[in-house]
Each structure stands twice: as structure tokens, then as C-alpha cells.
């Protein structure tokens, strides 16, 4: 027990050190740009954590990130690498947008939200499931297919916006018609945070429970830990791999819908703001633990919103925030772990002595 506590404390210490290192390195970078790092961190802190409006912005931004982060974490439990969050988010948004255009005004707002959610989850799930099927049939690595499918999804989105779904009365940048107000995600109480955050929190809890307590979650961990052992234990490995990918894609699709129906209301080029990629980082930061994924998503959203202050208050370029995000990622992932004896790899189990 004491040993565990000590190990935990060491882990927490290392994590704190990693974050501190990232902040110090970024501070040094900021100095070379002629800004005062202490002033800058102060501005970031004031403009986000101490500012009610910004907290709302952070949670709005975090909602699709949480969902897209879970979309990486679930396949990862089964040993799959889903780099396709971006494409799955887009497909979710496209499906939600398509449903909105097709059924506009025919359904009450609440029902419309539910239909959009279902459509988005289905679209995201199919998009990701395609990668799993390709892996199982023609043996292409899912990391490659999910990544490439992102570009297909982006082009599909652009085609729809520029051609069939374009708002003929819109001006400026091409986009679809705005979502009817009744079909938008409602705001929580008097805050500026929409119900998408609730969806993300509920999804986190559900995924946590599924992975932790169900037989499905257990079998995913078996497949992810040793697929050959899973096969030999008679588990339906292919079906489990597909299910993990489909559930992941559905979550990302839901993320797309949340962003569309909660923040954007129109399909437009570049609307997904690299959510899929940032969420990929969040999932890896959190080592695919659902609760930590949600935490990491909020943290990255905080950094992203804090990035606005970098521009406004410290006069740094907009891309500077990406430097900070990258430093945090490298520091946290590179922080090392409590060393643990690796299992014997070769054929004969070694005599323990």
C-alpha cells in the first residue's frame, strides 16, 4: 500500500515537473519574441480562469474535443490507432447539417436535435468502421486509412458547401443555411455553455462505465493487450475491433454534431478547427483513460482560448499557442514512468531466480 502511495506521489511529482518544464520553455520562447513571460502568463490566467465568459468559451470548445478524444481512446483500448477524429467529426457535422437541411421545419426542435445526434453518430461510426473493415479485409493499417479518410471527408464537406447545399442567399464565404433556432442545442441555464457539454460529460461517464465494468470493455482490453491470446480464447476478434472503431467514430461524429448545432450552426470550410487532431493529442496525453481524456481536452481548450490573450495582450502570432500545446504534449508524454519489469518476450519463460 505504502509502495503504491509512493509510486503515485512520484508520478504526480513528475507530471507537475513536466508541466512546469513546458511553461518554462515556452516562457523562454516568448522572451525571444520580446514579450514578458510573467506578464503573459498573468494575462492568460486572468483572461481564462478568472473570467466567467472565457470559462464558458473553454467548455464550449472542450465539448467536441472531449468527444473526439474518447473517439481515440476507445479504439486504443483494443490496440487500434484512430487518427481519423477530424474526418469523423466532419462526417458527423455533415450528417447533422444534411438532416437539418432535409427536415428543416418538419420536426419539433427537441426531436430534431435527437435525429441529428443519431445521424451524426451513425455517419462518424461508419466512417471509422470503414477503416476497421479495410484493416481486417485487405490488411491496411488503420492509422493510415483513418488519416487519409480525413482528407476525403474534408473534400466531401467542401463539395457539399460549394455545390448542392450552398446557401444561395448567403454572401461572402460559401456556407449552408443557418440551423433553425429551435433545432440548436439549448444553453445551460443562464450560461453561454450549450447542452453539448452535458452530452460530452455523459458520454465520458458512459464510456468509462462501458470500458470498466462491461464484458465488452473487458474483451476490448484483451484484444488490445494480446490479439492472439484473444483469438485463442475464442473471442470474436474481428467483431470486437470493428465495434471499438465504430463506437469511437460515433463519438467523434457526435462531437461534430455538437459543434455544428451548438456553436457553428452552418457548415462552412474549416469549421472543425482541427478538433480531431487536438483531441488525438488529448487522448495520448491522458493515456486513453476516459476521465483523464476529458480533463486533458478541457486543458487543451483552456490553452487554445488562452492563446487569444497571447495575440491580444502580448502581441504574439496566433500560431504561438500551437507551440505551447506542442511543448506541453512533448513534456508530459516524455516524462517517463515508474519503471516496471517488461514481460518476457521470447519463447521460453525464464526461470525466475
Amino acid at each position: 500500500m505504502n509502495l503504491d502511495a509512493a509510486r503515485l506521489a512520484r508520478g504526480a511529482g513528475r507530471l507537475a515537473l513536466a508541466y512546469a518544464a513546458a511553461l518554462v520553455l515556452f516562457g523562454a520562447f516568448v522572451v525571444t519574441k520580446g514579450a514578458n513571460p510573467i506578464q503573459m502568463y498573468g494575462d492568460m490566467w486572468r483572461s481564462t480562469v478568472l473570467n466567467g465568459t472565457s470559462i464558458g468559451q473553454v467548455l464550449v470548445k472542450a465539448s467536441p474535443l472531449i468527444l473526439a478524444g474518447l473517439a481515440v481512446a476507445v479504439p486504443a483500448k483494443a490496440g487500434l490507432v484512430n487518427v481519423g477524429g477530424e474526418g469523423q467529426v466532419i462526417m458527423g457535422a455533415v450528417a447533422a447539417g444534411g438532416v437539418a437541411l432535409a427536415l428543416d421545419g418538419t420536426l419539433p426542435g427537441g426531436v430534431m436535435v435527437v435525429v441529428m445526434m443519431l445521424a451524426a453518430a451513425t455517419a462518424g461510426g461508419l466512417w471509422a468502421g470503414l477503416a476497421a473493415v479495410l484493416r481486417l479485409t485487405v490488411r491496411v493499417n488503420e492509422a493510415i486509412t483513418t488519416l487519409l479518410l480525413n482528407y476525403v471527408a474534408i473534400d466531401l464537406l467542401l463539395y457539399l458547401i460549394y455545390q448542392p447545399w450552398k446557401d444561395k442567399f448567403g454572401s461572402g464565404q460559401p456556407a449552408t443555411r443557418a440551423l433553425a433556432v429551435a433545432a440548436r442545442l439549448p444553453l445551460i441555464g443562464t450560461s453561454k455553455v450549450h447542452a453539448g457539454f452535458v452530452i460530452a460529460v455523459v458520454a465520458t461517464a458512459v464510456i468509462f462505465a462501458l470500458l470498466r465494468w462491461t464484458s465488452w470493455g473487458f474483451r476490448l482490453r484483451v484484444v488490445g493487450g494480446n490479439a492472439e491470446a484473444a483469438r485463442r480464447a475464442g473471442l470474436p476478434v474481428s467483431a470486437l475491433l470493428i465495434s471499438a472503431m465504430v463506437v469511437g467514430g460515433a463519438l467523434a461524429g457526435l462531437g461534430g454534431m455538437v459543434h455544428f448545432a451548438g456553436a457553428e450552426f452552418k457548415l462552412r470550410p474549416g469549421m472543425t478547427l482541427n478538433f480531431g487532431y487536438i483531441a488525438f493529442l488529448a487522448a495520448w496525453l491522458a493515456r486513453h483513460d476516459p476521465l483523464k481524456v476529458a480533463g486533458a481536452a478541457v486543458l487543451l481548450a483552456l490553452i487554445a482560448i488562452g492563446g487569444d490573450s497571447l495575440q491580444l495582450d502580448s502581441g504574439l502570432p496566433a500560431a504561438a499557442v500551437n507551440v505551447l500545446m506542442g511543448l506541453v504534449l512533448v513534456a508530459v508524454m516524455g516524462r517517463g514512468q515508474t519503471t516496471r519489469r517488461s514481460p518476457k518476450v521470447a519463447g521460453i519463460p525464464a526461470v525466475a531466480s
Partner: protein, 516 residues
């Protein structure tokens, strides 16, 4: 011709030892793995190191090879005190080690693996020269191998041969062999020992870790025994001790013999396993199993002997629906598997103890209890979840019933040693009421007492009416356990013999030459 009769007079070399270990102590946390151990190896001697699982043999050898660091004590090599900080330092001194978990690169050829261990001259790899040198060395040491074969296509036994050859070719003065004979046929053991004798004749030294007492006696000039981290027998003359006294030194007590009278197989009941004209391809795409016919009755134990890589792995896998057939039919307890895969075999009542549990049976991140649940998920399901209380109570019962002293239910398998992983696999398979038990090398990596307990459990399963197929490279073990022994050669049945009508060398003959 026998390794027992061919014994030559052991040369007695007096004087300064090549390697001397003085009062060496190693602690891992609270555990004292080596407690003031003294050990020495002379130039030109073969020294056998005996001891149980966890007795500290590997720790001691890893100290000598620079993997572990001592807490106190001294090492002397060639007469002067040395510090061996790393395996590289050990190799520079002329100490080579053949690990039990082999250190070859599967994607490379035999020649390329050997090249990794040799100092390279120039940038170009002189393949032809290398192949010639390997062939010469292989011939010289009596360790046949194909230099151009890919290591991943080789069986564990073949890989081990390459590994030994590699260390010998790197010019070691002292070679440490960790259980080198566990995967060799009797005749191959003779060949290996002949090679070791040649090394000895040239003044080189060999330390051999082994469980097989008759082998220690056949090859070793002196024998040392570790128990619980302490040397209980130091550099003794092996011929002065019989098996009983050596086992007692190792275990601290006597080990009971296997029951001699056993119930006869139930020929009338549905056979546990039927193979009808079974053929299957190996991983390399070649036909690894050809026209195998075998019927194992309910309550019968059939052993499988063969030089490793002659179709044992494929036989194991087809019997449990793990490998596609190229021809024939496999029937488990009356159910034709016909493409139903592992699931069909499990549902028909088949369980397996695989050759390589780390690769094929365990999930490092999961606990012991989770591995128990995995074996029989259906029966421990509760709604969408798993009834972990049921899993744990069943596990406690199994542990009691099998008496294999498994690690705690909550322990992660990644933290267990090979022997403890094997206990988990054995408890899971032998505690079940399966109709068919297929066991590949079930006692590999186990201590004397646990090996005996495993053998008893296999016989208990047999007595309970299960058909048992035991693949082993320990012919003595097969002779003790089996009703019949099937010998595989080049993927074909070279012969089926009954213990009592054939001895170790008859079987060895079939293993090496196939049916005549």
C-alpha cells in the same frame, strides 16, 4: 552410444580457477536472491549448476554476465579481481551466455544473427564467408543449422542451437548455458555434450544450468546446488551423489513418484480427439503436417515426441482449431471442428497449454483473476458485466484443487516471472473439466515439485476421462506419463510406440530418421 555410457574420465584440473565468485550477496528489495554465494569455475571444466525455480541460479549467472550488480562480494576472472558492469564487459572478458529466452532477431537469417554477435570487418557483410564459417562451426560443434534460414521460421529448439553457436563463434572462454538441453532430442543432447567436451578439451569452461540430473552427471565435472539463494552443495563430484540426494539438496525434501497403476482408457466412450488424414501448412507456407491420423480415447494420454520444428506446433494448433487445415478432419469429443475455429474447439470441450504462453495466452496488462475470467467468459457473465466475485471464488477453488500455488488474484501478469505465468496457464487449463487437454511443454520453466504436480494433474485429468495430448521434448517425461507415444518427423507420424516396448533411444531414432 548412450550419453550415460559414453562418459569419459573427467579431467582433474587443479590450480587457479578461471572464474571465482566470493561471498556474493544480491538483494531485490526485501528478497535476498543470492546470500554470500561462493562459486568457482576452473579452466577446462564443465560445471553444472542445479537449483529450483527462484533458487537464485539466474541471478548468479546474470551477475557473472554483468546484467545484475552485487550488493557485496567479489568477482575474480583469470586470477584478478574484475568489475563486470555490463554484458558487453563480460563478453570482452570472454564470458558468453545463452539465455533461456533467446535473444535472436526473428526477421533476420541465421547468418545475419551470427554477424550481429561478431566484430565486423569493413562495411560490407561478407555473406559467403560468413555462411562458410557458420557451416564449419556448426559441423565442428555438432549443431546442425541452415545459415540462410530466417530465424522466425525456426522452432525454439532450432533457435537455441543457433544461439549456442553464436556465442561459441564470438570466442567465449567461459560459456554459460541456461537449460540448454530442455528442447533437444536425446541424440542431439549427445551431440551437444560431445561439442561441450571438445570445448573442455581445449581448456574452455562451461557452466550449464539444468534440471536433468542424469545430464548433469553425464557432462559435468563438478556440480553446485543453490537453494533459497544459498549454495547448499559447492563444487561436488556428481558421481558421488545419486538423484535422490541431489533432488533433496535442491528441494529440501523428497519428491513422490508418479502413481504406477492407472485406470485403462475408455475405448467404448466417444474419443476425445480424432485426427483423420490431417494436413496443415506452417507459418512459412510449407506443408508442416502431413496425413496425420490419431485417435485419442477418453481417459487416454498420448505423448508427442519429435525434434522441435517437426510439426508439433501445427499439431497443437489443429487439435484446438487454431490453424486452418490443408486437408483432413479434426473431431473433438464427437464435434467436427470443420472451420469453426478456436471457438468450436472450446465449445466441444478442448483446452490448451500453449508452447509460448507469453505470446499466445496471456495479456500483460491484465490480472491473474482476469485471465481466469477469460477462459470461461460465458459462465461468469452477469448482465452486461462480469461477476468478479464469482471469478475470484472460483479461482480460489481452482488454486486449492490444483495446488500449483498461483500468484495472487490481483497481480498483473506483466509483473510475473515465466514460471509463475505458466502456473496461471496450468491452473486454468488443468482445473477445468475439459474433455480434451492439449499441453505443449507443460513443465517448461517449472521447478521439480511443480513439474511433478503438473504431471499428476495431467494424470488426474486422464483418470477423470479426458483425453490428453502432451507434447514434450523430454522423452523421459513422456515415457513416464504416456499410454502411447507418437513420434513426429518432418510433419509425418514416424511411429507410435508404447512405453515399456520402447526406450529413449528407440524414440530418438524415430525422431531423427523418421519411419524406416
Amino acid at each position: 552410444m548412450s550419453l550415460l555410457t559414453e562418459e569419459v574420465a573427467a579431467p582433474t584440473i587443479e590450480g587457479e580457477p578461471l572464474l571465482a565468485v566470493r561471498d556474493l550477496t544480491v538483494r531485490f528489495g526485501e528478497v535476498v536472491a543470492n546470500d554470500s554465494v561462493n562459486f568457482e569455475v576452473r579452466a577446462g571444466e564443465v560445471h553444472a549448476l542445479l537449483g529450483e525455480n527462484g533458487a537464485g541460479k539466474s541471478t548468479l549467472m546474470k551477475l557473472i554476465y554483468g546484467v545484475n550488480k552485487p550488493d557485496s562480494g567479489e568477482l575474480h576472472f583469470g586470477g584478478s579481481p574484475v568489475r563486470i558492469d555490463s554484458p558487453a564487459a563480460a563478453r570482452r572478458l570472454g564470458i558468453g551466455m545463452v539465455f533461456q529466452d533467446l535473444r535472436l532477431v526473428p526477421a533476420l537469417t541465421v547468418a545475419e544473427n551470427v554477424a550481429l554477435a561478431l566484430p565486423l570487418k569493413g562495411i560490407r557483410l561478407d555473406r559467403a564467408g560468413l555462411v562458410r564459417r557458420i557451416e564449419e562451426a556448426a559441423d565442428h560443434f555438432g549443431l546442425a543449422c541452415d545459415p540462410s534460414a530466417l530465424v522466425r521460421h525456426l522452432s525454439i529448439g532450432e533457435r537455441q542451437r543457433v544461439e549456442i553457436l553464436k556465442v561459441l563463434m564470438a570466442g567465449a572462454k567461459l560459456v554459460i548455458l541456461d537449460e540448454p538441453t530442455s528442447v533437444l532430442a536425446p541424440q542431439e543432447v549427445d551431440a551437444l555434450f560431445a561439442g561441450l567436451r571438445q570445448l573442455r578439451a581445449r581448456g574452455l569452461s562451461v557452466v550449464i544450468i539444468t534440471h536433468k540430473l542424469h545430464e548433469a552427471r553425464a557432462i559435468a565435472d563438478r556440480v553446485s546446488v543453490l537453494r533459497g539463494g544459498k549454495m547448499v552443495l559447492v563444487a561436488a563430484d556428481p558421481t558421488a551423489h545419486d538423484d535422490r540426494s541431489l533432488i533433496e539438496a535442491m528441494v529440501g525434501r523428497t519428491v513422490p513418484a508418479l502413481p504406477a497403476t492407472r485406470p485403462s482408457p475408455r475405448a467404448a466412450a466417444t474419443p476425445a480427439l480424432e485426427l483423420h488424414g490431417v494436413s496443415a501448412n506452417g507459418d512459412g507456407g510449407h506443408l508442416a503436417l502431413q496425413d496425420v491420423d490419431l485417435v485419442i480415447a477418453s481417459g487416454e494420454l498420448v505423448g508427442v515426441a519429435g525434434v522441435s520444428g517437426n510439426g508439433q506446433r501445427e499439431l497443437y494448433e489443429v487439435a484446438l482449431g487454431l490453424r486452418e487445415l490443408a486437408g483432413g478432419r479434426v473431431v473433438v469429443a464427437g464435434t467436427d471442428l470443420s472451420g469453426g475455429g478456436p471457438r468450436a474447439a472450446i465449445e466441444a470441450g478442448g483446452v490448451g497449454i500453449p508452447e509460448d504462453p507469453v505470446a499466445d495466452a496471456v495479456v500483460p496488462g491484465l490480472s491473474v483473476a482476469e485471465h481466469m475470467a477469460l477462459a470461461d467468459l460465458k459462465s461468469v457473465r452477469r448482465g452486461f458485466g462480469i461477476d468478479w466475485a464469482k471469478v475470484r471464488s472460483r479461482l480460489a477453488g481452482l488454486d486449492e484443487q490444483t495446488g500449483l500455488r498461483m500468484a495472487g488474484a490481483g497481480r498483473k501478469v506483466a509483473d510475473l516471472s515465466g514460471g509463475n505465468i505458466q502456473r496461471v496457464i496450468l491452473t486454468r487449463a488443468l482445473g477445468s473439466d475439459a474433455r480434451l487437454v492439449v499441453a505443449a511443454y507443460p513443465s517448461r520453466g517449472l521447478d521439480v515439485a511443480t513439474t511433478r504436480r503438473t504431471q499428476e494433474l495431467l494424470l488426474e485429468r486422464r483418470a477423470a476421462g479426458a483425453g490428453v495430448l502432451v507434447i514434450s521434448e523430454d522423452v523421459d517425461e513422456l515415457l513416464e506419463l504416456s499410454d502411447r507415444i507418437l513420434v513426429l518427423h518432418a510433419g509425418r507420424v514416424a511411429g507410435i510406440v508404447r512405453p515399456g516396448e520402447a526406450d529413449r533411444y528407440d524414440i530418438g531414432e524415430l525422431m531423427l530418421q523418421g519411419a524406416k
